[in-house]
């Protein structure tokens, strides 16, 4: 019984279906050329180890390289033959790859610099004036121009403290005072090493690090956002706006980071990121970023 060793073991002519007797032939390789995004698909057919016909689709993005105007000598060098260890190399070798990540020249951020403060002041003034005929001034915070007093997010405080630096000092002072003043008993929330300085302080600090994500797909829920933003830093809270009637997402949500830098990086990286068939828009939750 001569077994044809060239055929994969599974395919015996007696087992072939009538209409598939040309199964051992593979369809030709297809190349769907680079489209306007530079995506090229190569569809090949192979037999895998078990003798099954498999279709392998390779999707590559063809990018135009930086135009290098090569001198005559450089052009000649382009045609040199490979030597040394590169002799047996094919074009598809994995030695040279384009990074999958986009790397930026990250400008150093100094939140207290004059430059940024001036820009921010300019922005807020511009916004106040652009707000139209009515300038909404909240009596509570005074600085915000986008909500009335009753809608102030800082309702529970008389006036928000200006900078972060002052807050710890203020809260430390308040911790020390009761300790000294009341003598024996210090309530847990005011003891040294209490986790929350004041409830609203924590919340406000987090609200300053709040990121708004829009253009979410219908199926996106809180765990998805948490998973997506977690790589950038510790996330205290995620919220996805839901339509109560249909139970789907209304397309936007908020993510609160512990650190502002993490929030900034998340904005840089994820704005414009394709997530579940939609392009996300990621920005600061409040219009001004001071």
């Amino acid at each position: 019984m001569a077994i044809d060793k060239n055929e994969p073991s599974k395919l015996r002519w007696g087992e072939l279906e009538e209409d598939d007797d040309l199964d051992f032939l593979l369809p030709p390789k297809e190349v769907v050329g680079p489209d306007e995004n530079g995506i090229k698909k190569v569809i090949e057919y192979k037999f895998n180890d078990e003798g099954n016909k498999v279709k392998i689709t390779t999707t590559t993005r063809v990018r135009k390289l930086a135009k290098a105007r090569l001198s005559k000598r450089a052009l000649e060098r382009r045609n040199w033959e490979k030597f040394g260890d590169a002799v047996r190399e094919d074009v598809g070798s994995r030695l040279t790859m384009v990074s999958t990540e986009e790397i930026l020249l990250e400008r150093p951020r100094a939140p207290g610099t004059k430059q940024e403060e001036m820009k921010v002041a300019g922005d807020s003034l511009a916004q106040l004036s652009k707000g139209g005929a009515v300038l909404m001034v909240c009596r509570t915070c005074g600085k915000k121009g986008d909500h009335w007093t009753s809608k102030c997010p800082y309702k529970d405080l008389a006036a928000p403290v200006e900078t972060f630096v002052e807050k710890p000092a203020a809260s430390e002072a308040s911790v020390a005072a009761p300790g000294a003043g009341k003598g024996a008993y210090v309530p847990p929330s005011m003891r040294a090493g209490a986790e929350r300085t004041t409830g609203s302080d924590m919340r406000r600090r987090n609200d300053e690090n709040s990121v708004r994500v829009t253009n979410l797909s219908e199926d996106t829920r809180e765990p998805d956002l948490h998973e997506l933003f977690r790589p950038f830093g510790a996330v205290t809270r995620v919220y996805v706006a839901m339509d109560q009637k249909t139970g789907t997402s209304r397309g936007f949500g908020f993510v609160n980071f512990v650190n502002r830098e993490d929030a900034q990086r998340a904005i840089n990286k994820l704005n414009g990121y394709g997530y579940d068939n939609l392009i996300l828009r990621v920005e600061w939750a409040t219009p001004r970023t001071n």
Binding site: F83, L105, E106
Partner: protein
């Protein structure tokens, strides 16, 4: 920008050098095999096989036909760039740490490490056009500095040799007599080993990087200190843009604090500074280990960095790099 990652070396990178036309990039690493790549797409062209030790340095002639490499196997080899064949081997008594062709490619300056009884030395060798005439003899040997000489380069018009090394002092020597002409001031100079040195495109000033976490810009003729750039990490490599007034520093100690679960892995960065204002303008992250080599393409539109992780990362700048304002 999307850097091109080239993983041709199994061991840490030690040096990177572009040729004069900017189309070839030569990389040296501790893995004995210098490699040449095309500088536009990172495709490997070939490797130079023959060294028996870590290759510390290399330089290519202006017409890109000759490559000089210095290695820890106590030899400096001259190669044919196109074919990868060895043309000549200079033998020394100790590892060679730095090589540079002179202007005109007829001479080369080579530094050797201190080893056993030998002190470190700077050698000047003649490079013959025709390989059959090549001789071993040195035109000039300069001894004197204590400790390793990490880098020695030619001054303007090949009249001087500038050396820097472990004793943190930069010295300028006369290239014909070997006499010491100038030394950098101890007060304002570096405090620790100088690891790297790079010249400006016109040769009027040069930049030195040191383990004391700073880099300094000096005038070539008078050796006066012009600028100082400070970082938080020891500087292993320096580069200057030939197009804009930017200076790039790379370095970093292998921090034991970096764990494999750190989601910010790949955070060793090459820091860009404004050359004149001494201010940091940005950083390019991505390496998984300290950066040991930096080189700018002579056209100023791309640069490459080599790290302890064995990767060479080739970056072509985005258009807005050229518009950066402080």
């Amino acid at each position: 920008m999307r850097p091109i990652l080239m993983k041709g070396h199994e061991r840490p990178l030690t040096f990177l050098k572009y040729n004069r036309d900017g189309d070839l990039l030569f990389s040296c690493a501790k893995d004995h095999t210098p490699t040449v790549w095309f500088a536009d797409n990172g495709e490997r062209l070939g490797t130079y096989r023959g060294h028996n030790g870590a290759v510390w340095t290399c330089d290519v002639s202006r017409d890109s036909t000759r490559l000089l490499t210095g290695s820890a196997d106590q030899t400096v080899k001259l190669w044919n760039v196109q074919t990868g064949t060895q043309l000549y081997t200079f033998n020394f008594g100790s590892p060679a740490r730095s090589v540079e062709f002179a202007i005109g490619d007829k001479l080369a300056v080579i530094t050797t490490d201190p080893f056993m009884d030998l002190t470190s030395a700077i050698h000047v060798k003649r490079i013959a056009k025709d390989q059959t005439e090549q001789t071993e003899e040195s035109l000039l040997v300069i001894k004197g500095p204590q400790g390793r000489i990490n880098r020695a380069v030619w001054g303007p018009l090949n009249r001087t040799i500038i050396s820097a090394g472990e004793d943190a002092v930069i010295r300028i020597w006369d290239s014909e007599t070997g006499k010491l002409l100038r030394e950098s001031d101890k007060e304002s100079g570096h405090k620790k080993t100088i690891t790297s040195l790079t010249k400006a495109a016109d040769g009027s000033h040069f930049l030195s990087g040191s383990l004391d976490k700073s880099a300094k810009l000096w005038d070539t003729r008078t050796l006066t200190l012009i600028k100082t750039y400070g970082t938080e990490r020891p500087v292993n490599a320096v580069a200057m843009s030939p197009l804009l007034d930017h200076v790039v520093l790379g370095g970093g100690q292998d921090a034991s604090a970096v764990t494999t679960t750190d989601h910010r892995a790949g955070k060793f960065e090459a820091k860009f500074y404004d050359k004149i204002l001494q201010e940091e303008i940005g950083g390019v992250k991505g390496h998984f280990g300290p950066i040991n080599a930096l080189a700018f393409n002579p056209d100023g539109k791309s640069f490459s960095s080599g790290g302890e992780d064995g990767y060479v990362r080739l970056h072509h700048f985005d258009p807005d790099y050229f518009n950066i304002k402080i």
